[in-house]
């Protein structure tokens, strides 16, 4: 019956939602990575990703792990773990996230508690359609140093400077990756076989090790 193509994400937003209700929702749907909940002082976005959204997300996560491995850097993939700070009334569940510089601090942890643990070093956000509200202020408040955002066409690297994100050409947490290299690889992932694509990512990493400066 359906003649309308489903968008890459389904999003709904609820207003005036209390922190306790947000916590009830998180508790009820614990261990589900989708839909993903984002909370900012009463505003609650619930986003359901499409297979297209998840495909980009997984490829980018694989790229992070492959590059880190070739550069001999530890990167722990914590997927869509829930991060929340009741004192700030903010919380989010990223498409993917990684502990890189702080990997050792969370290595033996079963749960992340932002009251004592650091935030992830890198967050991946896929927005094929416009988000209901920007999540950058939440990431900034929680102190995420770097965000990679993909809008369906372009990858952008955003680095936390003070309390705002600034777009930069080159990643800090995973140097020497650049937004151009990321955009090119994601574009290639649309047509290439996964294994061949991953091999190309690895080759690029080996060629660029230590040559970032």
């Amino acid at each position: 019956m359906e003649t309308v193509k489903s968008p890459a994400e389904q999003r709904v937003v609820l207003h005036n939602i209390g922190w306790n209700t947000y916590e009830h929702l998180l508790a009820d749907h614990e261990n589900n990575s989708a839909p993903r909940l984002t909370y900012d002082r009463g505003e609650l976005e619930i986003m359901s990703p499409s297979p297209e959204h998840e495909k980009f997300n997984r490829r980018i996560a694989q790229l992070v792990l492959a590059v880190a491995e070739e550069l001999d850097i530890e990167a722990e993939d914590l997927g869509s773990t829930t991060f929340r700070r009741e004192d700030l009334e903010r919380g989010f569940e990223p498409d993917s996230c990684f502990y890189i510089q702080n990997e050792e601090q969370v290595r033996d942890k079963d749960r992340i508690d932002l009251a004592v643990d650091p935030p992830p070093d890198l967050v991946i956000e896929i927005d094929i359609t416009s988000p209901s509200f920007s999540k950058l202020p939440i990431y900034a408040q929680i102190g995420v140093p770097e965000v990679w955002r993909y809008d369906g066409e372009r990858m952008t690297i955003l680095v936390l400077e003070g309390s705002d994100y600034a777009e930069t050409a080159e990643s800090i947490v995973l140097s020497p990756v650049t937004s151009k290299v990321l955009t090119d690889f994601v574009e290639k992932s649309k047509s290439m076989k996964r294994t061949a694509w991953l091999e190309e990512v690895r080759e690029w990493s080996r060629e660029n090790t230590g040559s970032s400066n």
Partner: protein, 211 residues
């Protein structure tokens, strides 16, 4: 970024949601008509309608008002009222709903409480995209006699028969209205101006309603 968003609804489905969490969400969202929540024993669908979705719901509600008037029948529109029954773990918020046969019992009530009040006689459901939660079993359990559903191309009239909805030749709530006529009027609502459209609906009613 994509532009399809405009035509379609936005829907998300959450699983394993407790009745308590569902009620909290309803309370905190308050009297806003959007987003609309449907709940069936742990499954919670939250739906944000598009403007096309809302427009169809509006014109169908207008049609109900005009036909009821021409038939000298009272129709009490209660819009997207929340209908819920904690005892059976189900609830929904239709795109539009009406009390017709039970109009007198509901007229003027500030709130509907299904533990004492009857369910609506007619529910309108617009689905430009496939729902993530089938609401028909909820309507059936709550005892809604008649459902009109528009799927983006066609409107269909369903009647509750022995716990299941079956496609009906014509409406019981507003007799002589068929799915074809309803479909035609929904389609015309996008091309005609509202005054011409209303006139057409009224003319049809005068020409086709017996008695």
């Amino acid at each position: 970024m994509e532009s399809v968003k405009n035509r379609a609804e936005q829907r998300v489905l959450l699983r394993n949601i407790s009745w308590e969490t569902y009620e909290r969400l309803l309370d905190e969202r308050g009297d806003s008509r959007v987003p609309r929540l449907a709940y069936d024993r742990g499954d919670l669908e939250i739906m944000c309608p598009s403007s096309e979705h809302e427009s169809v719901a509006y014109f169908v509600a207008l049609l109900v008002a005009v036909l009821a008037e021409e038939m000298h029948v009272n129709a009490y529109g209660v819009g997207s009222t929340t209908y819920r029954r904690g005892d059976i773990g189900r609830g929904f918020e239709p795109d539009a709903s009406f009390y017709i046969r039970n109009e007198e019992r509901i007229r003027g009530k500030p709130r509907i409480d299904l533990s004492v009040d009857p369910p609506p006689d007619l529910v309108i459901e617009v689905d430009i995209t496939s729902p993530s939660l089938d609401k028909f079993p909820i309507y059936a359990r709550l005892g809604v006699h008649e459902v009109w559903r528009y799927d983006g191309t066609r409107a269909t009239i369903f009647l509750l028969e022995e716990g299941e909805y079956v496609e009906a030749g014509e409406s019981v709530a507003l007799p002589s209205l068929t799915s074809d006529v309803l479909t035609l009027f929904v389609q015309e609502s996008t091309s005609l101006g509202s005054t011409d459209w209303l006139r057409r609906v009224r003319e049809w009613a005068r020409g086709n309603i017996t008695g």
